[in-house]
Symmetry: C2
Subunit: 250 residues, 2 copies
């Protein structure tokens, strides 16, 4: 089924025998007006919305979409505990997926809110894995944090035939070193508490002067700094851009 078909069905009354459609909707990096027109329309027309929260905190995804969420629409909250053990998080996605499935079985659609892009390091993948075999799922891509950070840092990510490598900050120090060394453009995501380790790796490779630190890109409290000037403590939503190769003149 194409996105167009799905939208058409979402906008017309569903026969009772028809299952609802699950939409995984990317909301972009944080500024509400960086969500797509399609995302805004799907949320405004939603029967039911769903989103994750971390350890009972506020949902970043819900905060991005707040202005377009209809008054009084039912909300399915998946509270994901922050534990090293995986079972508690799996259990919360299991029960969230079961709640969503009930709504879909009733013929109503569910719009699952996803910060950034649903398939780019997004928690929607865990909902998708649990429901995609049984229900129609439409994923609406969103602006990722990597191009948002590049825009805010005025650093082109990759041009022409350059390679781009995206590395999660939690990777072990030696793996980070090996992957950054010999790469071209590099983005290190999910910096957070891994900043000292990542900074040491980049310094050891002599690349600190080419590195930019960006935290909470496009939000009110955004920070864009040369890595050398970055604070000691970084939030989870921060990254480091290392663009070595761009040839701006084409």
């Amino acid at each position: 089924m194409t996105v167009g078909d799905a939208l058409g069905q979402a906008n017309s009354p569903l026969p009772p025998s028809r299952k609802g459609v699950l939409y995984g909707v990317g909301l972009g990096p944080g500024a509400p007006d960086l969500m797509t027109l399609r995302a805004a329309r799907l949320i405004a027309d939603a029967d039911v919305i769903a989103y994750p929260t971390l350890a009972g905190g506020e949902s970043f995804a819900r905060a991005i979409a707040a202005d377009v969420i209809p008054q009084g629409v039912p909300e399915i909250v998946m509270d994901v505990p922050m534990t090293v053990a995986r079972a508690p998080a799996q259990a919360s996605y299991d029960s969230g997926a079961a709640e969503i499935a009930k709504v879909l079985d009733s013929g109503q659609d569910v719009v699952c809110l996803c910060e950034g892009d649903p398939f780019f390091y997004g928690s929607f993948m865990y909902v998708f894995a649990r429901l995609s075999a049984r229900y129609d799922v439409e994923v609406v891509p969103g602006v990722t944090s990597i191009t948002a950070c590049a825009a805010r840092a005025s650093k082109p990510l990759a041009a022409r035939n350059e390679r781009l490598t995206v590395l999660p900050g939690p990777l072990p120090e030696d793996e980070l070193r090996n992957r950054i060394d010999g790469a071209e453009s590099v983005v290190v995501m999910k910096v957070g508490r891994h900043l000292p380790k990542i900074r040491a790796v980049i310094a050891a490779l002599g690349l600190t002067d080419q590195a930019v630190y960006v935290a909470r890109a496009t939000l009110e409290d955004e920070i864009v700094l040369p890595l050398a000037d970055a604070p000691e403590a970084a939030p989870y939503f921060s990254m480091i851009l290392l663009t070595k190769g761009a040839d701006p003149w084409l």
Copy 2:
């Protein structure tokens, strides 16, 4: 200057002494409703728009934005010849940048239309390189083709601590082989006439069964197929997704 400040200025009359702002606006992968709310507002309010065309053909960027471009707004067209030599393309960006600079000097803003994201393999980088030292430039990120293709193929790109590697299809065969081998999630962009070479590399690595071919994602004539079933001839706007590692259960 923050995006917010820039938007504020764009919406208020500029004193004659004030230079205009150049906006590099990402439009997403092709479906018009995958442009961001900010992109749509900036284009609708534009004093002047600018965009590239390839060898006198239609501009894909302009086609994506067609419904929101104001009637009669002045348009600066940068016609980029498709030549192996780089000088002709450089010359067209030089003259395009000079035209844009004239408008900015007059105090008017220019909205440069960019398919996908301006800093992700985007031609806007060549305009940016020519003007960013002299003018305020605001880059508005857009949905990239890689997350759009992943959404349409129902293939998560990367989760948790997976690495993602983006490779341009024109890279030499041995470099493609070395970079794909030992990578985790891989996206090969700009497939086009390089499809036979890329297909051979992926087959030699025994990864054909994990590879998906996506062409013109989100457009009417979109194609999503297992790589084994891909046509012989691929358009420029096509890519191959190789997602090896995703652990969907968290």
